[in-house]
């Protein structure tokens, strides 16, 4: 079974993250990037499925030059091949354009299953899996906390607040997985060495038959118009109970329009 896993290179969530003042996009210059933590789960799930079926795992990432690091991390974990779509024109793309690029790249690959994480840890949109399925004309089953493949079908469990759904779809399908589905492995040093020899292709927009005006900030349906740092937390107000504590408390809450 051939499994394509879409992964994203994101700024390290442990570091101080900022926006670039020029166009309000994520500032990638001043922070280390890495494979989105939520994308380690689909990679792990793909590796387990591939192990069980003697299959192949192809990781696909769209991003700037350094995004190769995310693809390489997946190769170090055990993925077999990687594709990195890199083109300066892609900078500033919204989720819609990202799904267009991913779909065009996937169309060039052989696949039985497409896996994604539940959302990125930076943009946190969570809509790319659905958009991707729509563009490829494939069924989508999202937010899987369990995945099994049987008889040409993908079956997932989706845990909701008050219910659990079992959903199936015919293959090929797009499946997004949550952080509950498995415990991602760490690469080993042997994996690091092995990854050096694995195929890692870089494709441009032209390779995908796309043009610059279909992607990037100019083609985006949404724009971040401004960003502001959350104001620093200020000290709370202490209400001293002099017999009228309750009244003062209500007065405070009413003043903040909370009651």
């Amino acid at each position: 079974m051939n499994i394509v896993v879409c992964v994203k290179y994101v700024p390290d969530a442990q570091a101080d993250r900022t926006f670039s003042p020029d166009d309000n996009t994520t500032d990638r210059e001043n922070v280390d990037g890495l494979l989105s933590e939520l994308d380690e789960y689909p990679v792990e799930e793909a590796l387990k499925l591939a192990d069980a079926t003697d299959g192949k795992v192809i990781v696909l990432t769209v991003g700037p030059e350094d995004a190769t690091d995310a693809a390489r991390k997946a190769l170090q974990m055990g993925a077999h091949e990687a594709v990195h779509v890199q083109d300066d024109a892609i900078h500033g793309s919204d989720a819609l354009a990202t799904s267009k690029v991913l779909a065009a790249a996937i169309a060039k690959l052989e696949y039985d299953l497409i896996l994604t994480g539940m959302a990125s840890t930076d943009g946190s949109m969570g809509v790319v899996p659905a958009m991707l399925a729509e563009r490829l004309g494939l069924p989508q089953i999202t937010l899987a906390s369990e995945l099994t493949i049987e008889g040409g079908k993908a079956v997932i469990r989706r845990d909701n607040d008050a219910s659990t759904e079992i959903i199936e779809a015919s293959l090929p399908a797009v499946v997004s997985v949550t952080d509950q589905i498995n415990e991602p492995r760490y690469p080993s040093f042997k994996g690091i060495m092995a990854a050096k020899k694995k195929p890692l292709q870089t494709w441009s927009l032209e390779d995908l038959g796309l043009t610059a005006d279909e992607v990037g900030s100019a083609a985006a349906w949404t724009t971040v118009t401004s960003v502001a740092e959350r104001p620093a937390r200020t000290a709370g107000q202490v209400v001293t109970d002099e017999g009228d504590g309750g009244a003062k408390l209500v007065e405070f809450l009413a003043g903040a329009k909370l009651v």
Binding site: Q14, R72, Q76, Y186, P187, F189, K190, I192, M193, K196
Partner: protein, 388 residues
């Protein structure tokens, strides 16, 4: 703030990144509980073993990572920055494999190394005795050859991983000399005492090992009879580099915590890092950490080139552990009263630093090694990295 590093290869850089991720995600959350409750983190060593971090400086054909000491020691430093007890443990394990890897016959390497380097097993070594620490040649543990077996009797002291290890590298007296033996932990007659009640490194168990009529086959002797002390001392040169790296990591951790605190804490209307008195203290700490790192890396690069490095290893151990003692002490000073409480890790760092001036050869022994070497090699040979 982790140390800046320049690594010799891309895979070595990825290895450091992997180490940091493991240390941050898996080790850091466990440190306080294990140190406070004196619990040995056996699973942590399995995790590091599976990632390949317990066998980095050994040959790939036996399951090692084929990495130079320059790289292995920086991985060790990164581990120790987060958890000194585990850093010491990795160094001890690597040293316990040194005998069979360097002095074993091809058959012994074939038989032992895949297991020792595979990551699932943990090693320990027994050199010191209650009355023979700095002077190992005074040891009394005996190994007597009877038919095809050596019979070992005696008591070994200060064994790191005592009671936890899967195998022990044991030095014992044979005839007039000392020989080196590999003894599986489940060999009848090998018993571990309860862990010593130590000042620091409390998650690392240090015990006495009692050997009573312990029988091991002749094939378990590493090197020739009488070669044991040479193997032990040669191993110690490398072990000292390991401890220098661990001490550097511990000092880095103390510096990082002190700098972070000094940026937050305000007195007289500004952050204490902006007061020259404390800023100079922090500057001296930073200088000490960098000097420690430079000293062990310089010695490691000599080792990697196959050059003599005994003196440089002793200098690195001496400088890095004395610096760690001073840096961790000054880090407590930067935090003031809270640095002395157990709510912050600084007092623990200080307690952990002390033993590093003592084990793997006391710093007095290091000075003796350095002093003796001064009388010998003063040729000022100029060499190139390509050899000759």
């Amino acid at each position: 703030m982790p140390a800046d590093r320049v690594m010799p290869t891309a895979e070595a850089a990825d290895l450091i990144a992997l180490t940091r991720q493991l240390a941050h995600r898996e080790l850091a959350p466990q440190v306080v509980r294990h140190e406070a409750d004196e619990i040995f983190p056996r699973d942590t060593f399995r995790l590091l073993g599976r990632a390949g971090l317990l066998s980095l400086p050994y040959p790939g054909e036996y399951g090692g990572g084929d990495q130079p000491y320059e790289v292995y020691l920086q991985v060790l430093e990164e581990i120790a920055t987060v958890w000194a007890s585990v850093g010491v443990g990795v160094s001890v394990h690597v040293l316990s494999c040194f005998g069979p890897a360097e002095f074993g016959t091809p058959e012994q390497r074939e038989r032992w190394l895949p297991g020792l380097l595979g990551g699932e097993q943990l090693g320990a070594y027994c050199l010191s005795e209650p009355h023979a620490g700095s002077d190992p040649a005074a040891m009394r543990t005996r190994a007597v050859l009877r038919n095809d077996e050596y019979v070992l009797d005696g008591v070994k002291a200060w064994t790191t991983h005592g009671g936890q290890a899967d195998f022990y590298k044991v030095m014992a007296r044979t005839g007039t000399g000392i020989s080196c033996f590999l003894v599986p932990a489940n060999t009848p007659g090998l018993e571990s005492d309860p862990p010593e009640r130590k000042m620091g490194l409390t998650a690392s168990h240090t015990t006495s090992i009692r050997l009573t009529d312990v029988r091991v086959p002749v094939e378990n002797r590493v090197g020739a009879e009488g070669e044991g002390l040479k193997i032990a001392l040669k191993g110690l040169d490398s072990g000292r580099l390991g401890i220098a790296a661990v001490a550097t990591g511990l000092a880095q951790a103390a510096l990082d915590a002190a700098v972070a605190y000094a940026q937050e804490r305000e007195t007289f209307g500004r952050a204490i890092i902006d007061h020259q008195g404390l800023s100079f203290l922090l500057a001296d700490m930073a200088a000490a950490v960098e000097v420690s790192r430079a000293a062990y890396l310089s010695a490691a690069r000599r080792r990697d080139l196959g050059l003599p490095f005994t003196r440089q290893a002793s200098i690195a151990k001496l400088v890095a552990t004395d610096n760690a003692m001073r840096v961790t002490t000054d880090a407590v000073q930067v935090l003031g009263g809270v640095g002395y409480t157990r709510d912050f890790p600084l007092e623990r760092y200080l307690r952990e630093a002390k033993v590093m001036q003592i084990f793997e050869g006391t710093n007095q022994i290091q000075r003796m090694v350095i002093g003796r070497s001064l009388a010998k090699d003063t040729k000022g040979i100029i060499r190139t990295a390509e050899g000759s």
